[in-house]
């Protein structure tokens, strides 16, 4: 994204050139610092399937949402160990790849994502649902982890 700087004075060519380098440097920082930053640093990462996930929190639970289109429920594995939730699965490529040509952009094979929660979750209350390609895992917080109101008493 180009940001145009409008200066109230004329710039010398040298300082204009430095300005362009500064913009380039900002763009590079933004690229490496963004979600794709780690991918930009290690080109091999472009080849692995890493479905994007979100984590939401309210006072009673955490919810993890992952974009996983085209999977079968039996191919999704969800496991919880202490405060780490791991979602993994696999998807095999289509068998009939079309005799006259095939262009594959989608990822196949297996994936794994792990989320570490800052508070304790109750493993017995975890519910997962998969609808329209979206996996939602709701993890209720353990009683001890829920925020408690502490009343202030006047003395």
């Amino acid at each position: 994204m180009e940001t145009n700087r409008y200066l109230p004075y004329a710039q010398s060519e040298l300082s204009a050139a430095f300005d362009r380098f500064a913009t380039l440097r900002e763009e590079m920082d933004r690229l490496f610092g963004s979600r794709f930053g780690s991918m930009a640093r290690t080109p091999a990462s472009f080849q692995t399937w890493s479905p994007p996930l979100d984590v939401y929190e309210d006072k009673d639970s955490f919810t993890v949402v992952i974009d996983l289109p085209g999977l079968k429920k039996e191919n999704i594995e969800i496991s919880l160990r202490e405060q780490n939730l791991t979602v993994s699965g696999k998807r095999t490529a289509e068998e009939n790849t079309g005799e006259q040509g095939f262009r594959a952009e989608r990822f196949y094979g297996s994936f794994q994502r792990t989320v570490n929660f800052p508070a304790q979750v109750d493993p017995n209350g975890v519910k997962a649902s998969y609808q329209d390609g979206i996996l939602k895992v709701v993890l209720p917080k353990a009683e001890a982890a829920k925020p408690k109101q502490i009343a202030v008493s006047a003395n």
Binding site: P52, G98, E99, Q100, V115, G133, I134
Partner: protein, 127 residues
């Protein structure tokens, strides 16, 4: 938050979203068989009501509008971009546009574009 989205709520939302300018480009696998071209587009969170397929000027425009995500709480960590999906393909004139079919299942939009008879491979027998 209202769990049950009524049809007219959804229609209003879709009407508003159709004027949206920002989209994600979905990943699409393209297969070509002698009979047709098949596209598999990854559109997570899109169901039948959210699919818009149109043909404009020989271009196939695929748009998928995401369903609203009813999730309790506030985002703590976000990677997903909750934008709608859009991809445009230039259609070869040999595609029978009135026979194009599509279905969506588990967030995958499958579009089948049948090829015209005249371009299907034909065997020519010797007399």
């Amino acid at each position: 938050m209202n769990e049950n989205v009524t049809t007219s709520d959804r229609q209003q939302e879709l009407a508003a979203r159709r004027t949206n300018q920002f989209y994600i480009t979905p990943l699409v696998d393209v297969q070509s068989t002698p009979e047709s071209i098949v596209l598999h587009a990854e559109m997570a969170g899109v169901d039948k009501t959210g699919v818009d397929i149109t043909i404009e000027d020989g271009n196939l425009v695929l748009v998928g509008h995401r369903l609203p995500l009813n999730v309790p709480g506030d985002p703590v960590y976000v990677e997903r971009r909750a934008l709608d999906y859009r991809r445009v393909y230039e259609l070869d004139p040999s595609i029978e546009t009135d026979k194009i079919t599509a279905r969506v299942e588990d967030g995958i939009l499958t579009v089948t574009l049948p090829k015209a008879e005249r371009v299907k491979p034909r065997k020519i027998t010797l007399e």
